[in-house]
Each structure stands twice: as C-alpha cells, then as structure tokens.
C-alpha cells in the first residue's frame, strides 16, 4: 500500500453568509478542471434548492479535486464545505476537525462578522492553518487594506499575504490554490495502523442507505470490513467506499489522510452520528477521536397537518427528514385546536424554518406550525422536575414551585453606530450585558446573557432590521435560570385555542398579548357574527380586539354568459377558505400562526 499523503490537502472554507463562500468553491472546482463551466450550476456545492434560494449552505458537500501546482506536482484537494449558520456550530466543528487547514473568506466591503469569528475560533481549536482570502475586491467599495488590518487585529493571524480575489469574476483564484499547496500541511497518519475515521456528515440515499462522509485519520477501510461505531456501539459491514468528484466514485480503499464516503447498509443517520469514530470491529483503536457530542434540540414547535392534509403524509415526510437529520426530533402530540400532529425539536430557529420549508416544498404538504418554544424546567411543589416544551402541558400554577428557563450566551457583532439601538432591543428582551468589546475602531461585540425564548421569538429579525443587515449573532447554551414566567392564552370567540398558547415572561405578557390580538384582528376574516379575540393570563383577560361581523359578500352581475370569470373569483375565495382552520365557530387562516411571531418594527 502506498500513501499519497504528501500531495494531499484537506481544507474547509469559512465565511459569513453572502461573503462568497459558494462562489469561491465554484471557482476552485472550475479552475482545477473537475467540472466544466457549462455543466456547472451556479454555486455547485449548495445542492438543495432551498440553500440556493437563501444563498446559504445547510448541508455539507464534499468534493475531491485535482490540481497541478506550480511546483509541477499533482495535488489532491479535498474541499469540505461547512454549513453557514449559528444553528449548526457542532456540524461545522466536526467538518473542521476533518481538515488541516481552512480558507477564511472575508468580504472586502464588509469585514469580519461575528459568525465568521465564531467559526474561526472553532478552526483555531482544531489547530487548523488559516489562510485569509479577501473577496469581492472588484467592488468599488472594497477596502482590502482595512479588512486585512481588521483580520490581524480581531483574529490575530498574519493577513499580509492574503490573496485579493474576486470569486465572482474569477480573479486571482490561482493564488488561493497555490496558498493551499504551500501553507496547509499534508495529512499524517499511519495507513497500516488501527482504523480511526471521523464521521463529519451523513445523508440517506434510497439505494445505498446512509452514506457517511468521513475523514480517515489512521489505518484504512475497504468493502467487506466489519466496522464499529465507537459511540453508538453498532457494527456494520462496509458495502462500498469511495470519493466524491463530484458524484460518488467507488474506490478500493480509503486510507489515512483520505476524505471520502462509506456505505454500510445503515438505515438512518441517527446510527451514524456526526462526530462518532469508526474503527474495525475486530481490531478496534483504543481511543475514539475527541469532540463527540450528541446534539440536542433547543427549540420545539408543533407541526400539524392543515385542513385537507393527511396525518400519515406528514408522518412519512417527518420520518424521511429524520433519516437524514440526526438533530431533528419528533414525537406525536395532540392539540384540541389542531387535532393530531407532532412536537418537533430543532437545533435552532433556522433549522426549524428549513425543515418547515422543506415539508412544504419538497413534500408539498399543507402544515401548520405553532409558536416555537424552548424547554422549560418546571420544579413542582413536591420537588420533582418536569421538562416542558409544549406550553399546553404546563402543570396548574398551584402545583408549580417555580419555573426555570434556558439562558444563552449571545455574542452580537455590530458596527458601532448601532450600539444604542441594539442595547435597547437586548434590554427589551431581558438581556444582561456582560461586557462590550471594541474589536476595531468601528466594530463592536456585545456580550449578553439572554433567555433563549427571547432569542427565538424575534431577535434575529429585530437585529437585522435595526442594523440594516449588518449585525450578526452567535449564541450557545449557558444554564437554566429561575424566572417569572406565565402562560399566555388566546381565546377566539371565547374558546381557548391551545395552539396559540405561549410561555412568556410576566413583564412581557401584556405587550405580547396585545400584539397577538392586533395581528389576529387583521388576519381573521369577517364572519357572520362578531368575533372577540382575547389574550389572557390565567382567568384574567389582558387584551381584547374584535373582528366585526360580515354584512355583504355578493357576486356581481354575470356578464354576457361569462361564467368563467365569476368561477375564478369563487375558486379564489374557496382557496382562501382552504387555508383556513376551524376553531370552534371561527375560521382562522393558517398564516395566523406565523404572523403572530413576526417581528414588527413598529411594535
């Protein structure tokens, strides 16, 4: 067996959303000649439509490339793409752990962002060689020298040799490739040692079962080997090993230094957990690779079939998604208002939005989602503890001694002009500032401790809106803290609609109640009768609005036998009705559930 380690480079790209990660990945792939320009879809690595639309990468894609460097040698590059959002920190860290180096892409017009910084720290934790790359230098507002200085100041790495590129224009890509060859260390590891391979991603394929993305740190693996997942303790027979370039290409063997894939007839990704170590069942390594943790959902919401949608269809789709997403949890629950559905757990709000959108688009399902909730620790009078993620399951107040809520450490990076307004929205959301840090003369990081339920409610939207998109945020769980929380209920025509219930801080109950009532007033259509909308805490009504009764909804003259026009009108109206959900006597459009959660600048 011969190893090609010397001419191998494994690296990731770290960048803030919109700073050009995917575009650079496209250019690298193109320049190394793997895929012809004609065949390339824009932003090759982002392969879900949703990602393409949002311009962000959610699921990792890995590609093997071949590059003939100026030194005359042929190099094998393994480009490991990372997801670009705060919800996926753990996945990012495992992808980085599979590399020896990382390209840090910084937008020459915008500088370093909080989220980039968070990922840079992850890369530094993994002892990666970081190569700064300044992108978008073709733009008039580019300020590469300032940005270089910012990188040096904030991150503390030398940026003097950072390639100045335009990924969009294909400018100076060669310099990036040469830097990869020169600066990123070749992988090490004994190809004849005991197998030690890191799972950094996995997805489910209908034909091959779970496909594991892996980095081999030690030893080698081939078809027919019986492998052991060291954390889940499960054993599988390897059915195929290969590399992506860009489609799957089976190879005889993967060996230390390689990045590739392993198939072993695994039924769901939960059995091939990101961060787990693969070794040989018969001859296992003593120590698993460090850094494994089981990801836990932080945010929950109810997902229900909407009117006319089948419960089974939703179940099938959720199962399919779970097969591919170890971080996503669901279990059946029942709502008086919405009937049978599921309580679903997510890493964070974006993760939730992505799953919901995929259910709607890929699976073409009509669903209703309820207000997202965090997990509350409810301590009862008898000292027992209940973890509650559905507000409707909150025990009666008389049985509760106190409630604790999750607090996160939030790092908010903003241009200094916005410090005042951001401190204000943090304070409104019960944030406690720990300290403020000027990382350059114009950029500030605010360190806050904040209740997670405030962060998931509308904090992202508020932050983006107040900083015109320039603010960025990352957060991590800190601890549970005792808090004065109440359950806010919404009543339509005097009937409680459990799907609208939420747990809020007592100081927020009034304003939130009023906000929801006002929103619902705008969104609930007129009925034949007056519809009172009330917000209550316990038996006390704290806000009220009324939708007045409908008096007239008449079909105008049918003109000259043109039935079609009227029919279209009626069909449109019926379609509107279909999106309605019947609560007692009141019909509520499905949008109502998301509308009451939307950040409103005027509130």
């Amino acid at each position: 067996m011969e190893s090609n380690q010397k001419y191998m480079r494994n690296f990731s790209i770290i960048a803030h959303i919109d700073h050009g990660k995917s575009t650079l990945a496209d250019r690298i792939i193109e320049t190394t000649g793997l895929v012809s320009h004609r065949e390339m879809k824009e932003q090759y690595l982002d392969n879900m439509d949703l990602e393409r639309e949002r311009g962000i990468t959610i699921k990792l894609q890995t590609t093997r490339l071949s590059y003939k460097a100026k030194d005359g040698h042929d190099y094998t590059f393994n480009l490991i793409d990372t997801p670009g959002h705060v919800d996926f920190t753990y996945e990012v860290s495992r992808s980085l752990a599979a590399c020896e180096g990382a390209l840090l892409i910084v937008d020459a017009t915008q500088g370093v962002e909080a989220q980039t910084l968070a990922n840079v720290y992850l890369a530094l934790d993994e002892n990666l060689e970081i190569i700064p790359v300044i992108n978008k230098i073709d733009l008039g507002s580019a300020r590469p020298e300032e940005v270089k200085q910012e990188i040096e100041e904030i991150i503390g790495i030398d940026a003097s040799e950072a390639p100045l590129i335009s990924a969009k224009e294909g400018l100076n890509i060669e310099a990036v490739l040469e830097a990869i060859v020169e600066k990123i260390p070749a992988p090490k590891g004994d190809i004849n040692g005991k197998l030690k391979a890191l799972i950094f991603d996995a997805y489910y394929d209908n034909y091959r079962g779970v496909v594991i993305y892996t980095r081999i740190f030690n030893g080698h693996v081939a078809k027919g080997d019986i492998v052991l997942m060291m954390n889940t303790k499960k054993k599988y027979e390897v059915t195929e090993v290969g590399v992506y370039s860009p489609g799957p290409i089976p190879v005889d063997m993967l060996m230390a230094g390689d990045v590739g894939y392993i198939c072993a007839s695994i039924k769901q990704v939960a059995d091939a957990r990101v961060g787990d170590t693969i070794t040989m069942a018969a001859n296992p390594t003593e120590h698993a690779l460090p850094g494994y943790k089981k990801v836990q959902p932080m945010v929950y919401c109810g997902i229900y079939p909407s009117e006319g949608e089948k419960y089974e269809n939703v179940k099938d789709a959720l199962e399919k998604l779970q097969v591919n997403d170890a971080a996503f949890h669901f279990e059946p629950e029942t709502s008086t208002a919405l009937g049978f559905g599921y309580r679903c757990g997510f890493l964070g709000l974006l993760h939730m939005e992505i799953i919901v959108e995929r259910l709607e688009r890929e699976f073409d399902l009509g669903i209703i989602t309820t207000s997202p909730s965090v997990i509350y620790k409810v301590v009862l009078n008898d000292g027992s503890i209940q973890m509650i993620q559905n507000p409707s399951n909150l025990p009666p107040l008389t049985e509760i001694d106190h409630i604790e809520e999750p607090i996160v450490k939030a790092n908010i990076m903003i241009p200094n002009d916005y410090v005042g307004s951001i401190m204000e929205i943090c304070q409104e959301r019960r944030g406690v500032m720990k300290h403020m840090e000027y990382i350059t003369s114009t950029r500030v990081v605010l360190h806050y401790e904040m209740p997670l339920n405030e962060v998931i409610y509308d904090f992202f939207d508020a932050l983006k809106s107040k900083t015109r998109g320039y603010g960025s945020l990352d957060y991590e769980f800190l601890h549970y803290e005792k808090s004065n929380l109440v359950k806010l209920d919404i009543l339509l025509n005097r009937d409680l609609v459990d799907a609208f219930s939420m747990i809020v801080h007592e100081s927020k109950a009034y304003s939130r109640g009023r906000f929801v009532c006002e929103k619902l007033k705008d969104i609930i259509p007129m009925h034949q009768f007056e519809v009172p909308i009330q917000a209550s805490v316990g038996a006390k009504v704290i806000a009220r609005e009324t939708v007045r009764a409908l008096r007239k909804d008449v079909l105008a003259k049918c003109y000259g036998g043109d039935i079609t026009r009227k029919k279209k009108l009626l069909e449109k109206q019926k379609k509107g009705k279909k999106r309605m959900r019947q609560f007692g006597s009141v019909e509520v459009p499905q949008e109502a559930f998301t509308a009451v959660l939307k950040y409103d600048d005027n509130k």
Partner: protein, 396 residues
Amino acid sequence: MMTTNRKLGLYIHIPFCLSKCLYCDFLSFSGFSDEDQSRYVQSLLMELDWYRDGREKAGGITIDILDYEVDSIFIGGGTPSLISAELIEKLLNKIHENFSVDQDCEITIEANPKTIDRHKLKAYREVGINRLSIGAQSLNPGLLDFIGRVHTPEEFLKNYEEARAAGFENINVDIMFGIPGQSLEIWSDTFQRVLDLAPQHISFYGLKIEEGTPFQLMKQNNELVELSDDLDRKMYALALSKLREPKLNGQCSNYDHYELSNAAETKFHCRHNLKYWSMDEYLGIGLGAHSYINQERFSVTRDIARYQKNNASHIDWRHTNSKEDEISEFIFTGMRKIEGISFQNYEARFGEPISRRYKNQVSKLLRGGLIELTGTGMKLTLLGIDLSNYVLSEFV
C-alpha cells in the same frame, strides 16, 4: 331534416358606446365611425355564416346548427342601440336565414337613453325585436353625471314612453344601487319612479368597483368613498320590500323576484338570461362573446383587429367542462335564481345525489342559516343572498 327540441340562445355583442361610463369594465369602446360599425357588423355576419356552414374555424369549434332551434336572441353591449337600425336588421335577417328560429323567440336589444328615438324603436319592432332593455341606471341627475352617463332622467322617461308607443310590451329597466354618494332616499325615489312606470322587468344591480375602471383609480386616490356594506344591504332590502308593496290600484304586485338582481312579471322572466343560470346552451357571436355548447365553454377574441381579420381564428379560449365543472357551475349559477336548484334536476343531470359531494357543505350552510330547503331542492336565504359569494364558493 331532423328536427330536435334542443334550444339555443344567441348572444350578439355590439362593443360600441357613446362614451365609456366610469364604472364599466365591459368590452366596449367609444370614438368610432359609421364605417367602423358596418365593418364590425360585416364580421358578425361572417361569423354567423361560419356556424351555418359548419366550417372549421381555426379554433376548431363546429356545431351542427341544424340540431338547434333558437328561442332567445340577445343583442347586448356596449350600446347596441347606438348602431343604425339597418345594421340590426341585417343581423336579424342573417340569423333567420342561417338558424331555425322559434316562432315565439324572445328577441332583446339593449338600449341606452339618448341613442334611441321613435323611428329606431319602430324599426326594431318591424324586424321582430320584442323585448327592450333600457339602461336607466338612476333617475338622479347628479348621480348620472357622477357615474359618467351621458343622458338625463328626462331623456330616459321620454325614451320609455316612446318604446311603449312603438308597441314594446316587454321592457326591462336597468338601475343601480350602491353608487358612491347615493343616499337611501335617492335610491328609494329612483326605484319607486321606475316601479310607477310598471315595466315588465326590472334589473337592480349593486355597483361594484372593478379592476381597471376609472372608479377604481378614483378609489385608490381616495376621490371616491364606497358605500358601507350596511347601507348597500339596506338599499337591496328596500328594493325587495318595494317589489312586494301593493300597487296603487290596490292589487298585489305581480313582480316575481326571480334572480338575485332581477324581478319581472310572471310571464316576463328573461328567457335568455335564465339560460346562463340554468346551464342551458347559448352561442355568443362577436367580440369577446362567450358560448356554452355541448358542455364546452369558449370565447371569441377580445382583440377587434384580430376579430375583423377574415378567415382568422376568432376563438381564443376553450374549455371542455369536466363533470366537476358542470356540477359546480350548475350550483353556483342555479343558486342565483331565487327558487334555487332542484335536487331532482341535479340527480337527473349528474347521475348522483347532491349529498354525494356536498353533504357537509349543505348541512353547514343550513346550520348557518345561509340556505334553506325548498321541498324540491335548496335556495339562498335572505342572509345567504347577502353573503352569496361565501355560500357559492363552497360549491366550486
């Protein structure tokens, strides 16, 4: 020749007007010459010939007109009374030439005040027109002006008398309520004065502000305030109660309120319009005209240049109704009739009871007091009339 009893309504569209009213979104134009008129009528004649000849139109529509007997003709617009009586005569002659026309055929022409006189009306009678539909819209001069009508109440009244004198014994008067600025009193006055004329038929339409009309622009610019729904419904209710009031001679009124917006003496229900509401067959001739024949709906182009191109395709839209289409159209057009629809007819037509598809909808609407059972079928209640869109959208 095989004779059958398949009846057909013929609609002829005349898209010309003296000037366009501010609320109107019908297919019509103003500013045209006599030549334009005769050229257009020439195209109508050609279209009528096509059906006679059974010739393939480019749109692929052929119907065997020998299978049909025409029992209603409706010359609508626009303002059909605007063009010369000679042109109307040519049209009717052509229809008689090409189609088998029932002895008792209802032949209507729409007329607007100021575009008719004794001579024209006499000529209409002579060519066999036996029903006149006059667009009075209002008897309030200020409102007429506001909505862009070019005639006065007096001109309408004069024309009405002339029509009677010319021998018209079946006259419809079109009036509108819900006009911005209209008070309940103004409406009551207009309605009463029309009733006092004792026309055989009254159409009373609620004004609706349509897309693309000057009224819609004015609404957008806050230059026009729509009447409240409450007032609009009061006006409608007032009309219904006036229709039921005893006449001056102490006799009960013999008006039937037979469709949402139409009332007539028993023998004078509009046969042609009833075809639209009963899923009977009709053929539309002329610009933008719609047809329903052999469970197929189709329409003529709305582009006049294209329409007048000889031998070109006139049909630019066609749709063969599925069973579902037929059913929902049967209900939502049929329910416009005050008597509603008959379950027996429904079953005869579609080979299944109405409960098969609409059990839930019917019981929900019954519970809501929006429809009621009639013994033979179902119909809208007064509340259901006010909310008819809501009700009928349950069935599409």
